[in-house]
């Protein structure tokens, strides 16, 4: 039976090519936009670079400190980390590191802008950087405040050209660093890893950072067992609620923050939420309603087209009804037909998305990003195709099934 439906659908598609083209165009464009958006979000949630083991860690990137009359929103500061976060028992590893800072370097009259992070040594144990040459700096290097540096492949090439670079010196913000390792470039989408240069945090020119409760730092909490994330999360929440240590209760009385999974971190960013709640439900609603909202206009467009196309098939409908086909059978048939054309549009959309994503990668719109279609993209596309196919097919199918066979056979609606 389905085979018959598909055959009929195929014949209908080939009959009025202009209409088929118009339908496919709308479907393909709609699905391309949604697929590109979902692939970009996907590459954030399921990184393939240094953060690929994102199941094993949580990040703390936003902190709110409140006092009687003031609310401070910022990134956590080093003092907050040493006095509070370091007391957590459940994580196997804790890493402190700064947000990337921009450093300018001058090379024979050319200005190079690079980003630099100051990190501890656990950073390298938690994240899976791929070393091309050399290795990361050790705990001892960090403790001793040694001027050593890990740089990315592209940065190494910019500064030294091709060849070995470990052991060479590089001057960044007036400090001379000896290079100990070169890593593969990191996509900008991997927010805890992305940078061009990494140095021990103890090399900071001033020790002022040690006294700050709030300023440009970030934390990763790691456990080898992904199930332990829940416990780390609740321990952190508990610590802030009941056991927050503050150097200055006048200025900072209570602390509000959360240890986030990648999705929660994205939720904070999109919904601008600070404090204890990452507003996870907010972002899920945003994705669902945003996606459905975007499909609304194309659906109405398809519904209109489909309704007017029923006309040319009125005699077919009349014959089928006269021979005893029920309304629901006709509805199923038409919806299946509509899903078929949506699927064809979806396949075109996949090719278009691949092309658009390739262009985004090539223009370096998001640095070092590499968006690839994977099984999750296909899954999402299939769901989108089904949704679009069903919402744009059901109403016209219902209308079609209600036509009286006598009128349909006469061909005048």
């Amino acid at each position: 039976m389905f085979r018959n439906y598909l055959l009929t659908a195929w014949k209908v598609l080939l009959r009025r090519k202009v209409f088929t083209f118009i339908s496919l165009f709308g479907i393909a464009i709609t699905l391309t936009v949604l697929m590109v958006a979902s692939t970009i979000i996907d590459s954030y949630l399921y990184p393939t670079g240094p953060q690929k083991n994102s199941d094993n860690f949580l990040s703390i990137s936003r902190l709110t400190l409140k006092a009687k009359n003031s609310v401070n929103n910022s990134n956590p500061g080093f003092k907050f980390l040493t006095t509070n976060v370091s007391r957590l028992k459940s994580p196997e590893l804790i890493s402190f590191f700064t947000q990337p800072q921009s450093v300018a370097t001058f090379l024979s009259g050319i200005k190079l802008n690079n980003s630099l992070r100051r990190t501890d040594s656990n950073y390298w144990k938690i994240l899976n950087f791929e070393f091309i040459e050399g290795n990361y700096y050790s705990k001892e290097d960090v403790q001793a405040g040694k001027n050593v540096m890990v740089i990315s492949q592209t940065t190494a090439r910019e500064f030294f050209g091709p060849g070995k670079v470990v052991g060479k010196n590089l001057v960044a913000s007036n400090q001379t660093f000896s290079i100990v390792g070169v890593v593969k470039d990191v996509s900008q989408m991997e927010q805890s890893a992305a940078s061009d240069m990494w140095v021990p945090y103890t090399t900071a020119p001033s020790t002022q950072y040690q006294h700050e409760m709030m300023s440009g730092w970030e934390v990763l909490l790691y456990h080898s067992n992904p199930q332990m994330l829940v416990e780390m999360k609740s321990e952190y929440a508990h610590l802030l609620k009941n056991d927050f240590v503050t150097p200055d209760p006048e200025r900072y009385k209570t602390a509000h923050s959360g240890a986030d999974t990648p999705l929660e971190r994205l939720a904070r960013k999109f919904t601008g939420s600070w404090g204890d709640d990452s507003n996870l439900s907010g972002i899920i609603y945003l994705f669902i309603f945003g996606g459905l909202g975007f499909m609304l206009l194309p659906s109405v467009n398809l519904i209109n087209l489909n309704i007017s196309r029923i006309m040319e098939r009125s005699s077919e409908i009349g014959v089928r009804k006269a021979f005893g086909a029920s309304g629901s059978q006709l509805v199923v048939q038409f919806v299946v037909e509509n899903i078929l054309i949506t699927a064809i549009g979806g396949i075109i959309g996949l090719f278009l998305s691949w092309f658009v994503l390739y262009q985004i990668g090539a223009t370096d719109f998001i640095a070092n990003a590499d968006f690839s279609l994977n099984w999750r993209t296909f899954l999402v596309s299939t769901i989108l195709i089904l949704i679009l196919g069903i919402i744009s097919g059901v109403y016209p199918a219902y209308k079609m099934s209600r036509i009286h066979p006598v009128i349909a056979l006469k061909g005048a609606l």
Partner: protein
């Protein structure tokens, strides 16, 4: 004629309703894009109030919070060293960075009048160096030292908000003491001068009342001043940046210096606004094309169905042009209904002040632009179907099956 068309539209109301909904949706999408583009354009075309050419911005990182006791002195040393450098036309500073989206604002009540304004600490000659235009009073000067008031300069909008009558406002403002109603005993702020405009956050920020405090190098200021600006006579090559950072580091070795040009910061802000708009524009463009083709398809199909009706009209003497006109104007009427329906929904936005960027200032203009785009689309996609309507001769059309 019109009533006749409306009647025909009404007779097929069920089928037409969906078409109206579709046009209304694309209209609202278009309106959203146009109104945000238009409001950005309006902001962009307002005068900035200062010159951005050939200026470098040095932002200072002190590695933590600003501590005036220890940080004011090295800041002064930096400032004065830079003033002595050859080739630098002027050195100036501000506490809140210029051409960045960070601000410092206050909502206060002065002399019984509530005002919301942005403010900034600037050095004595800063505004002059940036090319800010003085329209009344004078710049800051030595005569303000040790007085029983805090000297301030305000922009024209501040004066207009504070003193409602525009004509006398400027005269009245000079020498006026702003007394904070909440702290009437504190030193009043005396307006010594009025300048035309100063949009610190750049071209895309809205113009609001603005106030300058005077920064004194010897005294400093509690929340810090981390921005120094260098103005050059001509465009300076980046080579100089290296020398400059070395010079700065020799005075304040523990501080970090980031140097950017106002030119590049301005370009960055423009790109930040224009790029998302371009992406949305491309998507909306495709949606528009999709809707146009969809309407074209629907109309074409409907015309085929009405071949006999059209044949009858032609048989009793209607000209080809009037048939075409009928097809196009039916579509235009549908678009008109869609626009009315959208107007009903969209007008809530400025009425209830739902979205900041959609105000009465740009509402009607955006509305009219969106209407013209939709009209052009509707007319274009009904032209071809209206031609097919007259392709058959009346004799053939009458017994068309």
């Amino acid at each position: 004629m019109l009533s006749h068309i409306i009647k025909m539209v009404w007779n097929r109301k069920r089928a037409n309703l969906l078409i109206v909904i579709e046009i209304a949706m694309i209209f609202m999408v278009l309106f959203g894009l146009i109104s945000s583009a238009y409001s950005s354009y309006r902001d962009f075309s307002k005068p900035l109030g200062f010159e951005w050419k050939n200026t470098w911005a040095i932002s200072i990182g002190t590695g933590g919070r600003w501590k005036n006791e220890t940080d004011a002195a090295p800041f002064k040393a930096l400032f004065e060293t830079l003033q002595q450098q050859k080739g630098i036309e002027s050195v100036s500073m501000s506490s809140v960075p210029i051409f960045e989206y960070s601000g410092w604002s206050s909502e206060s009540k002065y002399n019984g009048k509530e005002i919301y304004y942005g403010m900034n600490y600037v050095n004595e000659t800063g505004p002059q160096d940036w090319g800010v235009k003085l329209i009344a009073g004078r710049w800051f000067g030595e005569q303000d030292n040790g007085q029983n008031y805090r000297e301030v300069m305000v922009n024209r909008l501040f004066v207009e908000t504070m003193f409602d009558e525009e004509q006398d406002g400027l005269k009245k403002a000079i020498g006026f003491d702003l007394v904070d109603d909440e702290e009437p005993t504190a030193k009043p702020m005396r307006i010594v001068g009025v300048f035309e405009a100063f949009r610190q956050q750049g071209h895309f920020s809205s113009d609001k009342p603005y106030l300058f405090f005077r920064y004194r190098l010897d005294k400093g200021y509690g929340h810090g001043s981390r921005n120094i600006y260098l103005k050059f006579e001509n465009e300076k090559s980046v080579d100089y940046e290296d020398t400059l950072v070395k010079l700065l580091k020799s005075i304040a070795p523990n501080w970090e210096f980031t140097i950017r040009t106002w030119k590049s910061m301005r370009a960055g802000q423009i790109a930040e606004t224009v790029v998302p708009m371009k992406i949305v524009g491309i998507i909306v463009g495709f949606l528009l094309l999709m809707v146009a083709m969809g309407l074209f398809g629907v109309l074409w199909q409907n015309i085929n169905r009405r071949t006999r009706e059209i044949g009858l009209r032609r048989a009793i003497g209607a000209s080809a042009v009037s048939i075409q006109l009928q097809v196009v104007s039916e579509m235009v009427v549908l678009a008109g209904l869609a626009v009315l329906f959208s107007l009903f929904i969209l007008i809530q936005i400025p009425l209830l002040e739902l979205i900041d960027t959609v105000t009465w200032n740009n509402f009607w203009m955006s509305f009219v632009i969106a209407i013209s785009v939709v009209l052009v689309m509707v007319v274009l996609c009904s032209l071809y179907p209206s031609r097919t309507a007259i392709a058959l001769s009346p004799a053939n059309a009458l017994h068309y099956e």
